[in-house]
Structure formats: structure tokens, C-alpha cells
């Protein structure tokens, strides 16, 4: 053994003790209810820390990394809702204290942070997630520790966990009505274009079944890798296939490249209509409205949605985050989630997860998008579907709506043609 080993041993011991001591002390702060040899489910969040005059809630979005573009805005609207509720006296007489954590666009980090929020901060509930992957990563943690997650983004459905409330649209509140809308308008030949990940693939599977059942036609189905920026070949394929409409499930930056290059190829919305389900006000701003004018989108909420609640929401939001800021569907869904939780807690008279979940069933709330109701069975919410057209000023104007809130159906059980898509 050469010299220096002793020192190395010393460093080793020091590091080990520092790191572990760090952990230990943190543990003490957090309350050692997780005592000695049984570090298990007794640590569950079933006894939320509603100590003193405050109640803790977790906010878990990607504040760094690729997804932060989208998720930061949702975090902002959730914080605004908390501020509003606190100003009105809080929930059950307690002020809400938000514990904000960063999921860092990394799914295992979401799981790690969810665990921290539940077992260390002992929050009453968590608002968070954007991608399905992050939700799927958090789900086992919430089920294991019996926590409560409010997930605010439209997604591909086929899920319903007792520990999650879904305030974004499921497929039958966005995709299916929009395809019906297209068919009604006589757009029967559909070109499916999406980023290569779970939501577009699942959505397109549903669309194909729906088109086949209702006399439409899928002329092609194309996927591009996430972050793909050259769409010339795809556009050549679109020209070749001569569809009536392009159903666009591209994500994020790919939308920018696609719409710019589509316009360059001499194709405007008058020549070929596209309908997008991942382009909201925020994205329109980043693409540039001149590339999008006349194209369609499908959501449940727009900044222009005409309800008294929305006027207040948009006004407050601009006051809080600047006149330039826009509001969009996921932001609104995050905002609504906070209010729904507060209402459920009030109704339950407690912050305990089981009681809140029980009380949440059937709760109604006049949201900026109109009246929403929590479905007691699958824990999604009733939402009004809206097809909108993008205008030159970057705003989206409603062309059509479903007339009233649509009952959520994540497994598409009520659609005959969807039999066999899911056996659950």
C-alpha cells in the first residue's frame, strides 16, 4: 500500500459521514415519524402537515430542462390560484403554503421529488406533471404513499388512478370531438402527423379507428423524432398524399419548424387545413402568428373564451405576470385544479387524502372555461370542448363548441367503434 492511502481513507470516512449526517439531520427536521427499522408506509401522507395556521401543498413541475418552457407557465397559474385563495382566507381557515420542487424534465426526478414532497414535506396534495412520462413515473409513488396528485394537462387517456385527479382533457374531450368536427365539415382524407412519443401514437390509433368507423380515411401516418427540425420530406409526402386535412400532434419545437416550412412550400391554411392539439396561445407566440393564421386547434379553453370567470382570470394573470403573458388551456387546468382541491377540502372538512377524495366526487366549479364537475368514477372532470381558429394577432377564436361539458371517458367505453382499443 502506498503512501496517501491513509489520507484517502480519511476522505472516504469524512465524505461518508458528511453525506449521511446531512441526510440524518434533514430527517430530524422532517420529523422522525419514520422511525428506525420500519421506514415504510407508516410514513404515508395520510397525516398531512397542517400544522399551525398553514397547510402545505406541493407544486412539482419542470423548472429546468426542455419541458420547463411549458411547465413554468402552469406553475405560475397554480401559484396564482393559491395566492387568490389565501387572499380570501385560505382553506379551512388555513393559509396554503406552496412547496415548489423541480422535476428537471427528468422522469425519475419527478418520482424522487414526489416521494420527497409526500414523505418529507408531508404535503396535503401535489399539483404537477406535464408529460405522460412524468405522470407515469409519479403514479406508483402516489399510490404507495397514498398521496394525491392533480394533473393539469390533456393526455392520451387509458388511465385512472384513485390517487390522481385529471383536470386536463382526456381523448374524448379533445380528439374525438375534433375528428367529428372535421368529418362534419367534409374533411374525410386525413394525414396524421405526430412527434414520436406516446400521446401522438395513442391519439392516432384512436383517430384511425374513428375514421374507419365513420367513413373517413387515413391517407398516411407519419412520426418524427422529438426535436426534429426538418420537415421538407414530410411536406413532400403530404403533397403526394393530397389529404383534406393534416391532423397534427407534433410537440414543442417541431411545430415551429413544421409550420414555417409548410408556409415556405407555398401551402397556406386555405390550401390545406391543419388541426393541432398541442398548439396553444403560448406556442402560437413562439411560432409567430403569421405562419398559423387560419389553422385550427382543439382545446377546452382559450384566452378568448367568453365567461365572466375568464375575464377575471386573464386580467389577474396579466397583472401578476405582465401584460405580454398569455393564458392557455393547461394553465387554466392547473388553476382549476387548485380551486377544485380547495373546494373538496372545504367540503370534507379535512386535508386527509381519503376524505378529500371522497368529498371531491361531484364537486362543481365555475372555471374560466365554464362549469366543470369532477367525475366521481374516474376522477377526470367534465369539460366543454372547443375548436378554435388562430387569428393574425395570435389569439384563438372559437369556431365551435360541444354545447356543454362532456363527460370524461378515458377508456372510451361509451364509443362502439373504440371496442378493442382497450380491454380495460
Amino acid at each position: 500500500m502506498k503512501k496517501g492511502s491513509g489520507l484517502k481513507g480519511f476522505v472516504l470516512a469524512l465524505t461518508a459521514s458528511l453525506v449521511l449526517a446531512g441526510c440524518g439531520s434533514n430527517n430530524n427536521e422532517a420529523g422522525s415519524s419514520t422511525s428506525s427499522s420500519a421506514p415504510a408506509s407508516s410514513a404515508a401522507a395520510s397525516s398531512p402537515a397542517a400544522s399551525g395556521g398553514t397547510v402545505k401543498v406541493g407544486i412539482l413541475h419542470s423548472l429546468s430542462g426542455t419541458m420547463s418552457i411549458s411547465e413554468v407557465t402552469v406553475k405560475n397559474s397554480e401559484l396564482m390560484a393559491i395566492k387568490e385563495i389565501n387572499a380570501k382566507g385560505g382553506v379551512l381557515g388555513k393559509q396554503i403554503e406552496a412547496v415548489v420542487e423541480d422535476g428537471a424534465s427528468d422522469w425519475p426526478t419527478f418520482a424522487e421529488k414526489a416521494r420527497k414532497l409526500l414523505s418529507e414535506d408531508k404535503v396535503a396534495t401535489v399539483f404537477g406533471g406535464w408529460t405522460s412520462s412524468s405522470r407515469k413515473a409519479m403514479l406508483p409513488v402516489f399510490e404507495e404513499l397514498n398521496g394525491l396528485l392533480w394533473y393539469p394537462v390533456q393526455y392520451e387517456g387509458l388511465e385512472s388512478s384513485p390517487n390522481i385527479f385529471y383536470t386536463g382533457a382526456t381523448t374524448n374531450q379533445q380528439i374525438i370531438p375534433s375528428v367529428d368536427f372535421l368529418l362534419e365539415k367534409g374533411k374525410k382524407k386525413v394525414f396524421l402527423l405526430g412527434s414520436d412519443y406516446v400521446f401522438p401514437r395513442t391519439a392516432n390509433k384512436i383517430i384511425k379507428a374513428q375514421l374507419a368507423a365513420k367513413g373517413g380515411e387515413t391517407v398516411a401516418e407519419e412520426y418524427t423524432p422529438l426535436g426534429h427540425t426538418d420537415y421538407t420530406t414530410i411536406i413532400a409526402k403530404i403533397k403526394e398524399a393530397k389529404p383534406d386535412v393534416v391532423y397534427n400532434t407534433l410537440n414543442g419545437d417541431s411545430n415551429v419548424a413544421f409550420f414555417k416550412q409548410l408556409k415556405d412550400a407555398g401551402i397556406s391554411s386555405a390550401d390545406l387545413m391543419t388541426i393541432s392539439v398541442s398548439v396553444a396561445e403560448e406556442e402560437v407566440k413562439g411560432i409567430g402568428p403569421e405562419y398559423l393564421t387560419g389553422h385550427l386547434v382543439a382545446w377546452d379553453y382559450y384566452q378568448t373564451t367568453d365567461t365572466p370567470e375568464n375575464k377575471v382570470f386573464v386580467e389577474n394573470f396579466k397583472k401578476e405576470y405582465g401584460a405580454d403573458s398569455v393564458t392557455s388551456d393547461p394553465m387554466e387546468a392547473g388553476y382549476v385544479a387548485v380551486y377544485l382541491w380547495a373546494a373538496a377540502a372545504e367540503k370534507a372538512g379535512s386535508f386527509e387524502v381519503d376524505k378529500v377524495r371522497e368529498a371531491a366526487k361531484g364537486i362543481e366549479f365555475n372555471a374560466p372555461e365554464g362549469k366543470v364537475t369532477i367525475d366521481g368514477e374516474n376522477q377526470h372532470i367534465y369539460k366543454t370542448v372547443r375548436i378554435g381558429e388562430i387569428k393574425a394577432d395570435g389569439q384563438i377564436v372559437e369556431l365551435w363548441n360541444s354545447g356543454g361539458p362532456v363527460k370524461p371517458d378515458p377508456y372510451l367505453k361509451t364509443y362502439d367503434w373504440a371496442k378493442g382499443l382497450s380491454d380495460q
Binding site: T66, T229, D253
Partner: protein
Amino acid sequence: MEIWFSQIFNGLSVSSILLLIALGLAITFGLMRVINMAHGEFIMIGAYGAYMTQQIFKSTLPKSLFDAYFPVAILVSFVIAFAIGYLLEVTLIRFLYGRPLDSLLATWGVGLMLQQLARSIFGAPNVAVASPSWLNGGLTVFSGVVLPYKRLFIIALVALCLIGMYLYIYRSNAGRRMRAVMQNREMAACLGISTRRVDSFTFAIGSGIAGIAGCALTLIGPIGPSIGTYYIVDAFMVVVLGGVGKLLGTVAGALGIGVFNTLFEWWSDASLGKVLVFLCIVAFLQWKPMGMFAVRTRSLD
């Protein structure tokens, strides 16, 4: 027929973009052997340069002059990227010559910081750059085949950059000094060339060209803090495939990847196309480990 024609054009167009993003790297990596992982971030800097120029034109100049912003933006992007590149060389890169793997890690760190800086200044969401109206539309060759002006413009811009670089490197005194330093640092220093200045200047030029690429890319792609990450690996592939240290190799590499990518994407789909292209590159390097145009040396290691 039409499809073939337009696909050949698309292949060329993709190649030109690849070449544009790889040209700067051909200098910093090819000549200086610095694995500049922050190259993508210089592209991003160029893109934001275009955005800022546009904003200034919008707010200070009459609307009629707006279309003139783009040529100005190219210059601005080059200058900003050049300046930041110069700064980076002087403060960091000069410690890293001859340590390629370390330069890779350190510049990755630089890339992270530049991304975060852009996020702090411009915000995380994408920003929009309106393209000048004289670049809208396209050239109709025959019915059904439109060659967008923007694509033609980018091809022309690449050709211009290439000619400029060629003239600079192989036909100017400064270029001769640059090549002398890159080939034999000590000897060049003995001959009275300030190697420090040449190093800084060379690196800055490479960065500046990345800036031009970023500016041009605003015409067809997104502008956000993390756009550099989309281009960086492709850029390295182009340089490695072509053969490090050869400008001609970089051109050939870009053409090869661009054309094959377009073809594969046409025949299969975008994901599979990408996988196939990368597999082809790996296979090609088995055959010619030093790339298409190799520089032979006699040194031991």
C-alpha cells in the same frame, strides 16, 4: 418525376443546412481540434442575434425598412457570436489545447451556462422571428415543384460562406498564418507569428460562422434557448464523416448525410431514417476510420 426533382432539391437543401451548422465546427474542431460542445449554443446565439435585430428594427425604424433587417441580422449574429467566441477562447479554451476530451466536457459546461443565460434573458419559451417578405414564396420550376426562396437563400449563403472561408484560409496571409499555427505551433511561434492571437481569432471565426448559421436557421426553425442541442450531434457527424481538418471533407460529409437522410426518410419514416443514416456513418467509419478525406501523419500517438 416531380417528386424526384423536389426530393433532390430537398436533399440539397438539408445538406446545405447541415453544412452551414458544420462549417464553424470544421474550423474549431477540424483545424484546432477543440471539441466544442458549445457549438450549438453559438448557433443559438446567432438565432437570438437575429431576434434582437428584428426587435430593434420593429421598435425604432419605420415599417418600410423592416425587410432590411435580415442582412443586418446576419452581420449582427456574426459579430456577437464572434465576440463571445473570442472571449471564450481567451478565458477558457486556451487552457485546453491538446486535451480534446477535456475540452469536450468543459465546453459542454459552457453550453449549459449559455443556455441558462439565454433562458434568463429571453425567457424559456420560443420567440418568433418574422422572415423578411422578400424571402416569402418560392420559385415555381414547373407545376407542382416550388423551390422556396428561403431554401435557395440558405444554399446561396452557404456557398458564400464556403467561398469566403476558402479564400480566407487558403488565399490570405491571415489564413496562411492560421494554417501555420495549426500545423506546427512551435515553429510558427519561432517565425514570429503570435500564436495566441491566431488561436483566439480562429476560434472566434468558427464561432461567428455558427452565429450566421443560427441567424439563417431562424427562417425555417424554432428559436429557443435549447435549439443548439438539436444540431450539435449532426454537426459533429458531418465533420467526422468528412474527415477532420479538410474543408472539402466537410462539404462531402454534409452532402452525404443530407441526401441519404432525405432518401431514407422518404422511403421509411423520419425516425427510422435517422437511425439508418447514423448506422451508415458508423459502418462507413469502419471502412475509413479517418473519414472521407483523411490527413495522414507519421506521429506515434
